[in-house]
């Protein structure tokens, strides 16, 4: 069983912050306030989530679990759009569909086909697995959308040349779709290749700390890595394809007003 951290030992962890804060003061970097505020935010948010999850786990009701998952998806979607440089209002529903479709497909496969918990909506599996997928796909979702649209904007003449040479919209966007997808999956391919040697993944570490046998933890880790990779690609493609209708006008020209 895990060694439980009491409140005093948790608070003692904040002592570690004194070192970076000392360095910030010494270098007159002015990050002290931001650091303290962020650490406090993290603390409050995690305690609230911990409290909430305690009840979600106790209740273990399929609808409550689904509700929580939807909240996570909406939050992830807002954050993705905020960072992608695209107007939130125009894309919100389309990227929400992209993120939900990809997450539900891969987490559904993992939970229903591989793990098969009873009941299948068991919060102990559903919530952390979907949370990990969403959290890990966030950066790649931002990157794929941002790269795709900035790629076309920065190479507008080339894009128009494709159209002038007879390409349909889906043919003309293909080079930019390829670049966007590559930029989002390349880091993950590298991570998978070095996993276990350079990095010990968080989920595995968490399970081992929680008392699981390393071999059991490894199987979950492999599952989650493959889920993240598949979700990343599905979300990137679905997000981009669904966003085309609002991003291009009826003459296949990129609308300038889609950017923040």
């Amino acid at each position: 069983m895990i060694v439980e951290m009491d409140i005093i030992s948790t608070v003692s962890m904040y002592a570690l912050l004194l070192i970076p804060i000392g360095i910030f003061i010494w270098l007159q970097m002015g990050l002290v306030k931001e650091t303290i505020l962020s650490a406090l935010r993290m603390t409050v948010q995690l305690f609230l989530v911990g409290l909430y999850l305690k009840y979600v786990f106790q209740l273990n009701n399929g609808f409550v679990n689904l509700g929580w998952v939807i909240i996570m998806m909406v939050a992830a979607n807002s954050s993705v759009l905020g960072k992608s440089g695209l107007k939130r209002k125009l894309f919100f529903w389309r990227t929400l569909i992209g993120i939900s479709v990809s997450t539900f497909i891969v987490s559904g496969w993992f939970v229903l086909v591989a793990i098969r918990p009873d009941p299948f909506y068991d919060a102990r599996y559903m919530v952390p697995i979907i949370g990990m997928i969403l959290g890990n796909c966030q950066r790649s979702n931002v990157l794929s959308l941002e790269r795709f649209y900035s790629g076309i904007r920065n190479n507008e003449q080339e894009f128009m040349t494709y159209l002038m040479l007879g390409a349909t919209l889906s043919e003309a966007i293909r080079p930019y779709l390829r670049t966007a997808l590559k930029s989002c999956v390349n880091p993950s391919i590298a991570t998978m290749a070095t996993m276990g040697i350079v990095s010990l993944p968080g989920m595995m570490t968490g399970q081992i700390l929680g008392g699981a046998m390393p071999m059991a933890a490894i199987k979950y880790q492999i599952g989650i890595m493959l889920c993240i990779f598949a979700a990343m690609v599905i979300a990137a493609v679905v997000n981009i394809l669904l966003s085309l209708r609002v991003a291009f006008d009826e003459y296949q020209r990129l609308r300038p007003n889609i950017f923040q």
């Binding site: 040349t161 040479l165 007879g166 003459y251 020209r253």
Partner: protein, 213 residues
Amino acid sequence: MIHFDNISLQIHGQILLEQAHLQIAEGDHVVIRAPSGSGKSSLLKLAVGALPMSGGSVRVHDLELSDQTVAEIRSRIGFIGQEPTLGAENVKDALLLPFTFKVHQHNKPAEELIFQTLELLHLERSILDKPSKRISGGEKQRIAIARALLLNKTIFLADEITSALDPASKAAVITALFRPEITLLSVSHDPDWINACGRIVEINKHKLTEAAP
């Protein structure tokens, strides 16, 4: 063949064309001569739906430009810009790029036709193996022209396409494009090009007016 009716065009709030008209018949070779920034290049872009019009209509053959017809109109017109983008890593791929698109997929030109077209434009066969980044501006212009010729287009919109050419290459391009079966709407400051055109159009007070050749 190409009809601009009542065309109005504003860019960044500045009026370039207002209720302008221009009719181009089959086989006409037209050049637009006007100061920079007066809307010459924009007029060419309007015809292929690359720029939004503020008013008026464009007709190419029997098709009025709209969201329904824009793809068909683009497939009929060869549009060549002043600094054309080749859109592929090497010259051969750039030349064959349009034939990778569904609409032209079945019309892939035979190797012999490619060589003849290169020769017509004073280009060496060896250029096919060069990376697109390594060729000169003049070569790029001629590759873009070759690409449009290989697509068997009969309507050309050409924006200063001789600006980077030496006299011999320019003569070759003029011979290749100024044929009776080709309809040409162009923008140019080049006296040789202007002399070769049968019609000169100017932009005066936001209108398109004919000038004496």
